[in-house]
Symmetry: C3
Subunit: 266 residues, 3 copies
């Protein structure tokens, strides 16, 4: 396999300010061959859970050996640690604030290090408010150049995981909640499609409720509902999703994160 | 000419969710040398006409041999077809929903195929809601790797074209309508500059009206009007455009898509 | 050092329209090896000062030899000049409207040319409203291919600099103003950290006021304030910044560009 110089960026820096550009520049300064791919810079400011969700559902599709820089980092410059880890053949560089949670739940941990080796950290005079540019980007360039993440420092005893709600059984059904609302207004729940398929081999007879309203049976895709009609699917992230055909389910249902989603026999 | 691995993306996936990143990852997984260029991910959700407009006015400027992935696809997973085509030396991969309309009107068709060859389609177990990631991206990677689009399937008998309004003659003038409003608030009409120049060799004597108001003669560029003043130009897309110097014509005129635009001798 | 084909884009074209894509295509048509990196396309429309700010705080972090295309150009097609210049080892191509101001203040000028050589300008029939695509992009491609900017034309006698306010001494303190508000709502002032450190070797005893309110002493980083609390830092751009921990200082203070910022002994 030819050597990859592929690095993705996931941040809450926005697309308007100099921050994302400065990070790209600093990576390229350390590794001019870097191939930088934006996953997103539009994670809502300081929203670690949204960042964790986007990272988990984008990163795994990249080629093995890709480096993912995930910088949603409200604790920058304070005492939170910086970690480098390999999960499922992909490398991640991230603040230890829980942004890795959904990756760590989905992909096997293969290596992990706390970045403590002062050879790879900037002098004390560096910025304490922009580690993305001054620590993460130079490290990313050096990892692309071949630096083994195990030389960055010792493994942490543990690392921070967000305490997320789990779906639970209730009567004949499963009850979960909305964990993400996408730009189409689709409501993504925390109920795994695998759990649905294990519980009910015949998914044709199931109905989904969201925010107290019946949105009908599971459909194969959005366009099988009438235009503007609410519907539910087992989505491309293998989660139960409440949507509407060419319309915004979140508006139709006045629902959003933490709204209840319930699935079970009609 | 050296081999190109250039692929552009035009979608309505937004910049905030994992979708665009997942598509990029899936392309790179199939073709790690791919050079991915974003045209836009911010086409308004499900807005095929806006997608068609942006595609037509961006794609043609790329080098011959570029692959363009255009995924504004509200009918995903239902019975709409996926097409691959070559127009004017550029390759396009797109749902057969009309998004190719303005490219097809502007550039000569050189090859076209309906994607039916099961060797290039995912198993039935794949997602029916995210063909961008699960069908378009892997196909894009394989086309970049050298796959001839003619091996994807037979030509379609025909393909879907949006039924767009045409400008019409009226008295001494031509009447069209606004088909696109850009981020500057400029109102782009469907009246071709070529039609204007054919009809009136002396364009200096023409006046433009929009939404019932005279916006003056054609100017050479925006800055030739006073600051905040309405004006009209034959724009860089060779269309009649109503604008304002450093101001938003759409707000000044309370105009938008389908608003009438009229040009003729003063 | 291996040859770089690296070009960054900073524009106010937005992410939604065909303009940024058309520029990328036109660069690649002239230089297929070009590696295009977006700094931002979301500079507020026609906002030269914001563009100047973002350019200055992103460009310098790129590798020497990078070409930066900065097109915030409300005067397009009128009589403003197009300049190519080298500052601090980086090359810039830009309209002569002041967008280079903060780069020129921070980095040494090494070469500069007014683009007048008709061999590198399009025919008179070209668009007068989209020089980004029709002049800047082809020039960028040719510069990446090795064209010396000195062949583009003679040096201008001078070039336009924005007339920006300077911080001034007042009593025992320094008074400046907000010049930029970022996506986090942080208020960036025009008071250089270097001026603060020169004036008061002991920065621990300083207090910062913004919009008439005391926001406390300088902190090392955001997270050292309580959540939601206002604070001040010497930021990563070496400027005095008023922020709030995980909250929007601009909203808490009802402050924005030109709001007063004052620093001095408590």
């Amino acid at each position: 396999m030819p050597r990859l110089f592929l690095v993705t960026l996931l941040t809450d820096f926005g697309a308007r300010d100099p921050y994302a550009g400065a990070v790209k520049g600093a990576i390229l300064r350390h590794c001019p061959q870097a191939q930088i791919v934006d996953i997103s810079h539009d994670v809502p400011a300081h929203d670690i859970l949204s960042g964790a969700f986007v990272l988990a559902h984008a990163a795994g599709h990249f080629p093995p050996g890709t480096l993912h820089l995930a910088v949603v980092d409200p604790g920058v410059g304070a005492d939170r640690r910086i970690l480098a880890a390999q999960f499922g053949g992909q490398t991640f560089l991230f603040p230890d604030n829980g942004i890795i949670t959904l990756v760590a739940e989905a992909m096997p941990l293969e290596a992990i290090a706390t970045v403590t080796n002062t050879a790879y950290l900037p002098p004390a005079s560096a910025s304490r408010t922009f580690h993305g540019r001054d620590i993460f980007a130079p490290l990313a360039g050096q990892i692309l150049n071949g630096l083994d993440i195990r030389s960055l420092g010792p493994p942490p005893g543990t690392f921070k995981m967000l305490n997320l709600p789990s779906p639970r059984g209730s009567g004949q059904g499963v009850v979960g909640q909305v964990i993400y609302v996408d730009r189409f207004g689709n409501l993504v729940s925390n109920i795994p499609a695998s759990l649905v398929r294990q519980t009910w081999p015949d998914t044709d007879r199931l109905h989904v409720r969201c925010a107290g309203r019946d949105v009908g049976p599971l459909r194969g895709t959005y366009d099988l509902a009438a235009e503007g009609e609410l519907l539910a699917v087992l989505n491309s992230m293998d989660l139960v999703e409440v949507a509407a055909n060419r319309a915004r389910a979140c508006d139709l249902l006045q629902a959003g994160p933490t709204s209840e989603v319930r699935i079970g026999p009609a």
